[in-house]
Amino acid sequence: MYNKFQLKYIILILVSILVFSCEEYLDKTIEAEVTEEDVFTTFFNYQGYVETGYAQIIDRGFNPWEAPYFNWGDDVVHASRNRLLQEGDYWPVVNGQTRECVYRNMPQFNIYVAGQAISQGRGVWDNSWHGIRIANIALEHLDDLVDATPEERAVLEGQSLFFRGYFHWEIMKQWGGIPYIDQALKPADEMKLPALNFHEAADKVILDLRNASELLPVDWDDHPAGQRTLGNNRGRLTKGIALAVLTEVQLYSGSPLMNGAATGTYDYNHEYLTNAANTAWEVLQLANQGVYSLEPFETYGNLFKSVGQANQEPGVSKENIFRPPYYGMYSKYHVDQWVPRRVGGRSHFESPSQNLIEKFETINGLPIDDPESGFDPANPWENLDPRFYYNIYKDGDPISISMPLNAEMYTGGSERRAGQSVTGYGMKKYIHVTWNNFDGGWNGGMGFHTVPLIRLAEIYLFYAEAVNEVYGPHGTAPGADLTAVDAVNIIRNRAGMPDVHSKFTGSKEAFRERIRNERAVELAFESKRRDDLRRWYVAHETRHKELYGLDFPRDHSFFEKRVVKTIVFDLKHYWFPFPTDQVLLYEGWNQNPGW
C-alpha cells in the first residue's frame, strides 16, 4: 500500500536539491570590517597605516621594565652584566635569547592596534623587516588612492620610501649585506633572495632615501598634507630626516669597514664620502635656513631630557633632527639604572671607562697627554671640557640636593660597591641631579629622557669627516663655505671649547684623529661609539678592547689605572652573525665570516 503523493514528494525534494543547491551553501563568509580598499583609498586611513612604520623605529633609550643597554663600545663598562656584546658572545643577542640589547627581543613593550602587537618589541632585526613590509605594501597601493591631494600622495610615498631604506639600513649597520626587499612578498612567493654585498644594498638604500628626501616636506606645518595636524607634526618624517640618514648611510658606506666588506679594501671610499659631504651640506643648508639649529650649551640638556615639568616631552630641540617616536609613559623606571643606588636608583650598571674620560680635552683645547694642555694628573678632573662635567658623575659630584649627598666614587666608596660603578665614574647624560627619591624630580610624570638618533651636531661631524678625507681639513664640499675644521669648531665652540689647535689641522691624518675624538666626546653615550669603532675598522685594536677604571682613595692621594674589562673583539665580531635558522634556509644567503 503506497501513496503516490509520497513518492512525488520525495522525488520533488530530491530534484530540487540537485538543481538548486551546490556549493553556495558553504559560500558564506564573515563580513570584513575593514577592507583593503578602506585602508588605501583615502589619505586619512592610508596615513594611519603608514604611521605604524614609526612604531618599528627602535628607541635605544626606551625600555620600561629593564635598563636599556645600548652603549657597547670602549666607552662604557657593563658591571653587572658580564655577557653579550662585550664578551663577544653574539649568539644569544641575535637569537633573541637575551633581553638586554636592542638588536633582538628587546624589552620594549609592544605597540598594539586592536589587540595585536604591530611592533613586537623584538628589536632591530624583527621590527625592521616588519617596517620594510609596511613600506612596500604602502608603496604598492599608491595607485589606489582616490581621496588625496598630490601633496598628500607625495608624503605617503616619501614616508614609505624612507622606511624601506631606513629599515634596511638598521639591519645592514650591524649585519652587513642583506637581501634588499623592494616588494611586499606574497605568501606564495619563493623567498630565496640572495644577499647583496654591502655597497649593492647601500646603493638601494641611498636611492630610496634620496627619493624620499625629494618627496617629504621640510616642515609639515607649512605643507598642505600637514594642515590636519597643524601644530602636532613634530616627529613626522621630513626632508631633513631623510637627508640626515642619507648622510649617515653614505658616510658609513664609505668608511673602512663597509668599504672593505664590499670591495676588500679596508679604507675610506672617496666616492661615497664625496656624496656624504654633499648630502651633509644639504642638511647644513637647512640649518642655515633656520630649520635646525644647535642648542646653546646652557640648555644642552634639552637634547636628552626634560626636567622639572610634568609630562614634558624630552629632547625637544631644533638640533634634534631625527628622534625615535616618543611614548611618554614612563619616567623613573627607565632612567634609574643611572641613578646611584643610595638615592633610590638601581646602580651604575653602565660605568664610563677611563678610556672615554681621557678623550675629554682640557679647557684650553688640547688632549690631556699634550704637555701644553695644563692637565694635572693629581687633579685629573680639573679644567676639562665642559662636556665632561655634563656627561660624567665624578667623585664628589652632588647626587641629591635636598638631602645633600655627593658621589663617593673612590675605591670602596658607596658608589663603587658591588654592582655599581667599576670605573670610578657614573654616567649622567640622561639624568638630572634631582632625579632621586629625596628630591623627587622623577615623580609625577617628570623626568623623561631620550636618545637622539641623529642630531645636527653629528651632521657637522659627518661633514667634517667626509670633507677631511676627500678635500682635507681645510677643504669644503663643492659649493659649500664650511671647511672640515670649521665644522668641528662649531661643535667645540658651542660647548665653550676653543678651536682645534692648529697643530692638528695640518694633515687629514692628524685631523682625522681629532674628529674621531670629537665624536667620542660630543656623542658620548648616544649609542654611536661601538659603530664608529667598527666602521673605522679599529675595534679589534687592543686600545679599544682594554677598558680602564681608576682606583683612588678618598683623599685622591694617588690615581691608579687598572684594566677592569677586556672586550672580546676579533675580526669576526665586526658583523653580527645572522640568526642561524635564517641563513640555513637556502643557499645564497651566507653566514657572516667567522660565525
Binding site: E33, V34, N110, Y112, A114, H130, N136, R234
Partner: protein
Amino acid sequence: MMKNRDFQSFLRKDLFLILIRMKLILFFSIFLIFTASAADQQQERREITGKVIDNGGIGIPGVSIIVKGTAIGAVSDFDGNFRLLVPTDADTLVFSFVGMSTQEVSISETNSVSVTMEEETIGLEDVVVVGYGIQKKESVVGAITTADAEVLEKRGGTVNLGNALSGQLPGVTVMSRTGEPGREDPLILIRGQSTWNNASPLILVDGIERRMNDINVSEVESVSVLKDASATAVFGVRGANGVILITTKRGAKGKPKLSLTASNTFKTVSKISTMAEAYTAKSWKNAGIAHEVSTNEASWAYFMPTEQIENYKIPQKYPELYPNIYWPDVMLKDFTTDQQVTLNVSGGNDLTRYFASVGYTHEGDIFKSGENDVKGYNTSYSYDRINFRGNLDFDLTSSTVFSVNLSGYTGIKSGANIFYPGWVYSSVYNLAPDIYVPQYSDGMYGFLPGNTNPPNVLAVLKEAGVAKENRGFIGSDFKLLQNLDFVTEGLSVDGRISFDNYFGSVGPNIIDGGNQGQTMFKHIDPSILSAVTAADSSAAISYFYPNGALPVNDYDWILRPWRVNPESPTSGALRRSIFYQLSLNYDRNFGLHDITGLLLFSRRKDASGANFPSYQEDWVGRITYGYNDKYLLEVNGAYNGSEKFGPGYRFGFFPSVAAGWMVSNEEFLNHLEWLTKLKIRGSAGMVGSDAGIPRWGYLDSWITGDDRVLRFGTVGQAYFGSNDGYFSGTWDPRSMYSIYKAFREGTIANPDINWETAFKKNIGIELSLFENLFALEADYFHDTRDNIFMTSDRRNIPDYFGASPVPANIGETKTSGIELDATHRYKITNNLGYWVRLSLTRAQDVILKAEDPEGFPAYQKTEGFAIGQTKTQIRSDIATNWDDVYAQTSLENNQYKLPGDWDIIDFNGDGIISTYDNIPYGFPNNRPQNTYSSFLGVDYKNFSFMIQFYGVTNITQVIKPNNDTPKLEPQSNLSELSVDYWHSSNPDAAFKAPRVGTSSPIGEYYHYDGSFLRLKTAEISYSLSKALLSHIGLSNLRVYVNGNDLLFWSDLPFDNERGSLDQNLAYPKLKHINIGIDVSF
C-alpha cells in the same frame, strides 16, 4: 510476514532477509511448477500441531514454519500455536523468526512439537555498521573493527566511553591522562598519527557528528571503527583521521524487557612519584651548597647546621617546627567510590518499538576533600551525570518507518574553587616535605611566610569554596524511511533531520576567600624553642589572613560569609546544530549478483556561542557488488568539502575502491572441512582532513583600532607632540595619539589553503579455522598524507617576509603499520570453555616533508623522524675530577662546571654545548607506536572469568617534577628521582652532584621509556541459570566483580599514558574495582 518486518532487524539483516526472500520466491515458483505438473498426484498428509515459545515460556506469534525442502508452511498465532498439514514423508520443520536463530526440528516420529526459540546472539556479529549504513560482515571489504555492547560492558564502571575502548580494538590507541572526575576525556588515535594537526578521529553517534565522552556506555549497541580509505572515504574531507561510529540500542518487537545494571566502584591511586623525606632533602641541599660554594659563595648563607637537620629525622621531636610531611597521606584518601545505575526498557509491538534508558553516574574524589561541616559546602572533586535516551520506531505504513531518537545528558563537575587546580593535583608529588605543617594541632593551617603561592593546598580543599561546571546535551533525531519496492524492488529512501544542543555553564560557585581559602594561617618558626620572653615567642609566630578574613587580633578573626556566584553560561560551550540528510538506498540480488547502492546528501549548520555559524555539505555515493558471495567489490565516493577553504578549494571528490575475495567459498576448497573462512581484502583511496585548520585563512583582512581599544589597553603608537613640548591638555592618553587611526594587516591570506589529503592503502586477511576454533584477522596499512597544514609557527621562511609566516599546506608524512587480532575459542566440555585473544597494533609514521631549513643537518630536521620525536641533549659520564671537568666541552652560557657534573655530548662537534646538540632520542613523546592487548577468558558453568593485559611500547615520556631539586629558598623539594646523587664516595650514583644555587645540565635524565604493561581488566561474573531465573520471573541476572587498570608495570615513575607531566591534568590516575549486578526482566 514481511509486512510486519521489524525495523531493527531490517537494519541488521536486510541483505540477509532479502536474500532469503528471493530464495523463497524462487523455491515457491519452482514448487508451483512442480506441484502444478503433479497436481493430480494426491498426497498423503498429516497434521502437525505445536507451540513456539521464547525462553521465558511465552508464546511467540508470527513465527514462520516451513516444511524443509518445500513451500508448505504456516505462521504461529498470537499465542505461539500453530497447526500445519504436511506430507507424510516430511521429516523436518524449519522455524524462523526475526532476531531468533532458525531451528530445524524433526517430525519424523511425532505430530506435536514444542519449540523454544533462542535469541539470535551471533546475529549481531553478522552485520557491521559502516559509514551511512550497515553491511553484512561477510561482504565488508574495508578495514573495520567493532566492539559490541557485551565487550563494552566488561568495562563495567567505566564512566567514559572513550576509556572503555582502550585496548579493545586493534588500530585504536586510547591515551588517558587524568583521573579527574568528569575530565577523563582520553585522546584517541586511529592507526597512529599522520599529521601534527588535530589527529582525532571523526566521531558520529547514530550517524551524526557528536561528542562521545558523556554517552552512557550502557546505551551503546556497538562501536565501529573505520580505518581504511574504503570505510572512511564517504566522510570525505573529515575522514582522514579515521571514524568512530557509535550506534545506540533500539527496541525489538516483543514484550517489554527491563534491565537494570548497577555497579559500585572502588578507586585507589595508581603509581605516583613523590618527594623525598625532609631529612634526605635537607642533607642533599647541604651537600649541594658545600659542593658549589667555590662557584657561588652566596649559597653558603643557606647551609643548614647539622643539628637542625637532625630535627627532621624520624621520630621527630618537634614535628610542627621541623615538619616532614608526606603529602600523599595528607591529601589522598585510601580509596573512593563511584556509582552507576542504568535502567533500560525495550520492546515493541506491530506498530511501535522502543528503547528507553535512564542512567545515573557519580564519580568520587580521591582527594581528602569533602563536606565542610562548619561552612556547609562540599569541595569534593566529583562528577554527577544523568543520561537519558528514548529511541522509538513507528511503522506508519507497511513500508514506512518513522524513527525518533531523543537523548541527552546533564553533568555537574564539582570541586574546590581554586584558580589553578593543578596546585592541588600536583601537591602529592610536587610539594616539599618541609614546606609547612598542613594543619597545626590547634586546627590552624600552616603556611610559609613570604610564600603563599601555591597556597596551603589542604586549606584550599577545605576552605576555598566550590567551583561547579555544568554541561549538558539534548539531541533529537527524526527519521523517515520509505521502502520504494513499488518503484523498483530493493529501493528505499530515507530522510532525517536532527537538532543538537550542547550547553555548558559554570556555577553556582561558592566564593570563599579566593585561591587561599578563607581561613587563618599560622607559621611557627623553630626559633620559638629558644624564646625567653613572651615577646620572643610571639615574634616566632606569624599569621596570614587571606582575602576575606578580617582579623580582630592575632588570635581572633571574623570570617566573612561566603558568597555565591550565580550560574553563568560558558559561551563557547553553547553549541547548536541542525543536520538534515536524504538518502536513496538500493539493495537487490539478481541470482548470484548482489548489488547495493547509496546516494546521500546531507547538510549541517553549527553555531557555537556568538560565532559565525559554520556549514557543511556532503554528497556521498557508494556501489557494492558481490558475485556469488565470493567476489566483492565496493566503490565509494564523497563529494564534499569544507567552508574553511576558499572558492576553488571548497569542494573535493574523495574516491575509494575496495575488493574482497572470499576464498573459502570457492568450490575447489569445499572439501577443506577445517577451513571455515578465508577472506582476502584490499582497499585504496583518498580521504581528507580539515581538522585543526582555522577558518577564514583564505581571506585577507585589515584591522584598525577603535576608541575603546585606545582607552583600555593600547599603549601607544607613534607620538607626535605639539610644538611646545607638552602633551596637549589633560593627561588623557588619547591625546598622545595621532589623529590617524592605525591600521594593520590582519590575516594575510593564503587563497590556496586546502585540506590535508591522505592516500590510504590497506590489505587484510580474515581467517577462521575449525568453526572459529582459531580466528585471525590481520591488516597491513600504508598511508601517505600530503598537503599537511603548517601553522605559522611551524613554517620556516625568511624573516624578511616581514610578518608572521602564512600558514600553508606543505607537509607530507607516511604512516604504515600492521594490526593483528587472533582469537582461539575452545569448549572443552559443555560446562567449561575458554577463549584467548591477542591483538596488537603497530603504527609508525615518518615526516617526509616539513619545510625544514635546507641547511640543517639531518639530525636537526624534523623530516625523517616521527611526529613528536623526542629530542634532547645526551649526557655521558659524570666528571669525577677536575681533569674530567677541563676535558668536557664548555657550555653555551659560561656556567661554572664542577666535578660531579654530567658531560654532555657535543654532538655537532662545534666545541660548545648548545641547543644544536639536542638530538633525536627514543621515540615520540605523545603516543606509543605499538600497543598490544591479550585476553584470556574462561567460562565454567555459570561462572565467567576474563582478564586483559594492555601494554604499549615505543614512547618516550619526560617526567620531571616541577621542582625536582631543592633551591635556595627555605623549603626543600627533592624528587625521589634525584636522591641518589654523585659524590666522590658514591661514584656510581644515578644523579649528578647536587647543585642548589647554580645549575648544571641534566641531558636526557627524566626522559623515560614510556612503555608500560597494565592489567587492564579482570572480571569474574556469575550468571544465574535460566531455569532458576524463570522461576523468579527474571530473564537474566549477572553479578560481577571486575577491575580496571589494576596493576601497572613500567619504568615510569608516574602512571601517565602520554607525553609529559601536565600539572593541570595531573589528577592521579586511579585503579578501579567494580562490583556490579545486571538484572533483566
